[in-house]
């Protein structure tokens, strides 16, 4: 508006100044006058003028020189040079230096007004243009920042990584010193991560704050930003850690998705910052981007845990079906055999009756063993397997089960190679004996009579490794892990052999892991298998 447009007139001729003032004030301009170049410059440094009318010859300087100084200070100012008749040449020079126009003295008032109006119009266009460019640049910055935050957080579904990379981006794009995120879990807000907060105050950050009272709860309840521009004066318990870190200003925005506030993004700066609405809009936008990514990650986590639960449930069902199957088979033999002997329509001979009784006896043992194995598995699952460790020599452990191993391998060539210098090992003798018996049993089950079975041991710095090797059918590589799963049954046991419970290797693994060791298999199908387990010395 014209009334706000200010014009500085620089001339040492007081009468002339008065005339100009009268002409222009009538048109609604606000006029200031300076009698010299130095006065003019000091006024220009303090105030903004839309236009300056300069006499080309001033007592303390040349008007064209002053023109250059003015344009350096305020490039957008409209400058009109006043010249005497004799100094038209200088006036043209002024135009080359950036003056908007020149007028010859004595000045024609109409001409002056017209020139000034044109100048003002030009200035308005320039200023508007500049504002548009600034606005565009700001939009560009906002868009780029949001894009860069959204790209950073979209790269992962891991909640912690999302928050870390979002905060990293907030620092890069906005230049704030410190930022942090709290996420809402029911009526609490949990601290999830920060960027730039000094190490010394990390311990002061509350792990969680109330989502019902305090400054962060205000953020959760309302949808807009909250600012504390002078923390020295503010007394907010939740902001204590920021204050302690020496920051002067705080701004926070809610993390909003679909109208729900799921957390808080806070920033802190070193100086008493005035957060402009533009800054806060940007921060709010960043908050929305983070909220989308956080919600996605939360949904993904929920879906994953639901899937995991379903898998666990399926495993339990499969386990029960397996248990039922494994119990029913020996039970069928026991019931069927006893039932056969009770049938009135057939009288079996002595040998057959004895065979039925032997079957009952044998499968009762099978059932008892299955029950033992199931108990063992349930202890392992409940982490209730007792391992009573004592210092033992491996050779003593093997001696204790030697008779049983010899019985098992009676149709094989059985070799035991335990080096004499093997150190004492801290183990549960009985449990390790069970593992070795089980591995030898498997070796017998899956290899032909008259082949070799070996037990070997080696010694490393931190432990010993014991192996049971056979020359049987071996195991294809894709089963090397699966054979340790509960109820996994390998095909290819020798004809006429009973299935095991499918629990043996799972139990072996449990016992070895309870000792802090590992168990694994190496095998070439058709050539044999080598089961090894390592045990730490202490």
């Amino acid at each position: 508006m014209k009334s706000e447009e200010k014009i500085l007139v620089v001339d040492d001729d007081r009468d002339f100044l008065d005339i100009i003032r009268k002409i222009l004030e009538k048109k609604g301009f606000k006029i200031s006058a300076a009698p010299s170049a130095s006065d003019a410059l000091s006024m220009l440094k303090k105030h903004f003028y839309n236009a300056a009318i300069l006499d080309i010859s001033l007592p303390d300087a040349d008007g064209t020189e002053l023109l250059s100084n003015i344009l350096e200070l305020h490039p957008e100012i409209i400058t009109i040079m006043l010249t005497g008749h004799s100094s038209v040449k200088n006036a043209v020079q002024s135009l080359n230096r950036g003056a908007f126009a020149y007028l010859e003295k004595p000045v024609d008032p109409e001409n002056l007004i017209s020139v000034i109006n044109r100048g003002m119009e030009k200035q308005r266009l320039v200023l508007e243009n500049r504002q548009l460019v600034n606005e565009l640049e700001r939009h560009n910055h906002v868009t780029n920042t949001l894009l860069s935050v959204s790209q950073a957080v979209a790269e992962t579904l891991d909640l912690q990584k999302i928050i870390d990379s979002a905060l990293q981006k907030v620092a890069e794009c906005t230049g704030v010193e410190a930022s942090f995120v709290f996420l809402r879990y029911k009526d609490r807000l949990k601290f999830m991560g920060h960027h730039g907060l000094p190490q010394k105050i990390i311990k002061d950050i509350p792990k969680e704050v109330s989502a019902i009272s305090g400054i962060f709860s205000n953020l959760i309840e309302q949808s807009g930003p909250i600012i504390a521009e002078d923390l020295v004066k503010a007394d907010e318990p939740d902001l204590k850690f920021i204050k302690k870190a020496g920051y002067r200003s705080f701004a926070g925005v809610p993390l909003t998705i679909l109208g729900e506030n799921i957390g808080v993004l806070g920033i802190a700066t070193d100086f008493n910052q005035i957060f402009s609405p533009n800054n806060l809009d940007l921060l709010t936008g960043i908050g929305r981007e983070i909220a989308i990514a956080v919600r996605n990650a939360q949904l993904y986590e929920e879906a994953s845990s639901a899937r995991a639960l379903r898998e666990l449930d399926a495993m339990r069902t499969a386990f029960l079906a397996n248990v039922s199957h494994e119990l029913r088979t020996p039970l069928a033999v026991i019931k069927g055999s006893a039932n056969s002997l009770l049938q009135p329509d057939v009288i079996f001979d002595e040998q057959t009756r004895r065979d039925f009784l032997l079957s009952i006896d044998k499968d009762a043992d099978t059932l008892a063993r299955l029950v033992d194995d199931l108990l063992m598995i349930s202890r392992l699952e409940a982490n209730a397997l007792e391992v009573k460790k004592k210092k033992h020599r491996l050779s003593d452990v093997i001696s204790a089960i030697k008779d049983r191993l010899d019985n098992l391998t009676v149709k094989h060539h059985f070799h035991i190679n335990i080096p004499k210098e093997l150190p004492l090992t801290n183990i549960d003798e009985g449990r390790i004996g069970e593992v070795l018996t089980n591995l030898v049993e498997n070796a017998v089950k899956f290899s032909e009579d008259d082949t070799n079975i070996y037990i070997d041991a080696t010694h490393e710095d931190d432990g010993i490794t014991i192996s049971v090797t056979d020359e049987g059918i071996g195991i294809v590589p894709e089963l090397h892990q699966r054979i340790f799963e509960r109820f996994f049954q390998g095909d290819g046991r020798k004809a006429g052999r009973r299935k095991g419970t499918g629990l043996g290797l799972a139990i072996c693994q449990g016992i070895i892991e309870a000792h802090g060791g590992k168990i694994w298999v190496e095998s070439i199908p058709g050539k044999g298998a080598k089961f090894s387990f390592s045990l730490p010395l202490d």
């Binding site: 079906a321 039922s324 069928a332 033999v333 019931k335 057939v346 039925f356 044998k362």
Partner: protein, 235 residues
């Protein structure tokens, strides 16, 4: 009379021994197989009259054996499995098994079921007095055990035939679930309602132009089934 050939398929040697001993003692000729593949070979080679089949076996499992045998043979199949799940039972019956027994089992019960299966196979003493039945395109020749629909021959398993025969002979009478189970299978089957559901389904798939809207075998909800026909004629 020649000994009936029974094939026992089970990968557990103790079960094979138990069944063989019992069945041999009762006059059957026994063949054994320890996996699905072996069993399929035996069915083709040994003129098998009945199969006792385990489900969980290496190589080809029992369900697959059942499916493959039914592609070319109507030999009675009794499933003998440690899996007692109702779904397993229905699945096997739908695939064409005749009976399903869960381990552990009683010897007498198994023997009764074997007898039921053989009875379905066509004991002349249970053939009805009348020679044929005909109803709206469905023709049954009881003596020849031959069924046609609109002149086209339909192959039925012995159990399917036994059920159809019982419904046809009693056409226009409502037969309750219990009556059908006891007459076609035997007294010990009166609680096995799903047998009836599965076998009626099997018959409808083979006989009915639109099994979902059956015109021959009608369901009386909650009661039983009947073949209702004004045009039915028994010669």
């Amino acid at each position: 009379m020649d000994k009936k050939h029974i094939l026992i398929v089970d990968d557990d040697p103790a079960i094979l021994r138990l069944l063989s001993t019992n069945l041999k003692a009762r006059g059957y000729e026994i063949f054994t197989a320890t996996d699905g593949e072996e069993s399929l070979e035996a069915v083709q080679r040994d003129f098998i009259d009945l199969i006792i089949l385990d489900l969980m076996m290496p190589k080809v499992d029992g369900v697959e054996v059942c499916r493959r045998v039914r592609e070319w043979s109507d030999v009675p199949i009794i499933i003998l499995s440690a899996r007692g799940d109702e779904n397993d039972k229905v699945k096997c019956l739908e695939l064409g098994a005749d009976d399903y027994l869960t381990k552990p089992f009683g010897i007498a019960e198994l023997m009764a079921r074997i007898k039921t299966a053989f009875r379905h196979r066509g004991d002349p003493s249970v053939a009805p007095a009348q020679a044929t039945f005909s109803c709206d395109g469905l023709e049954i020749n009881f003596a020849k055990r031959r069924v046609t629909v609109n002149g086209k021959e339909v192959t039925l398993t012995p159990t399917e035939f036994a059920l159809l025969q019982h419904l046809a002979v009693n056409a226009d009478k409502v037969l309750t679930h219990n009556m059908l189970l006891q007459s076609v299978w035997g007294n010990e089957y009166s609680s096995e309602k799903e047998y009836l559901r599965v076998f009626v389904g099997r018959l409808r798939r083979k006989l009915e132009p639109d099994p979902k809207n059956p015109k021959y075998i009608q369901t009386i909800p909650g009661v039983g089934y009947h073949i209702a026909t004004s045009t039915a004629s028994i010669a």
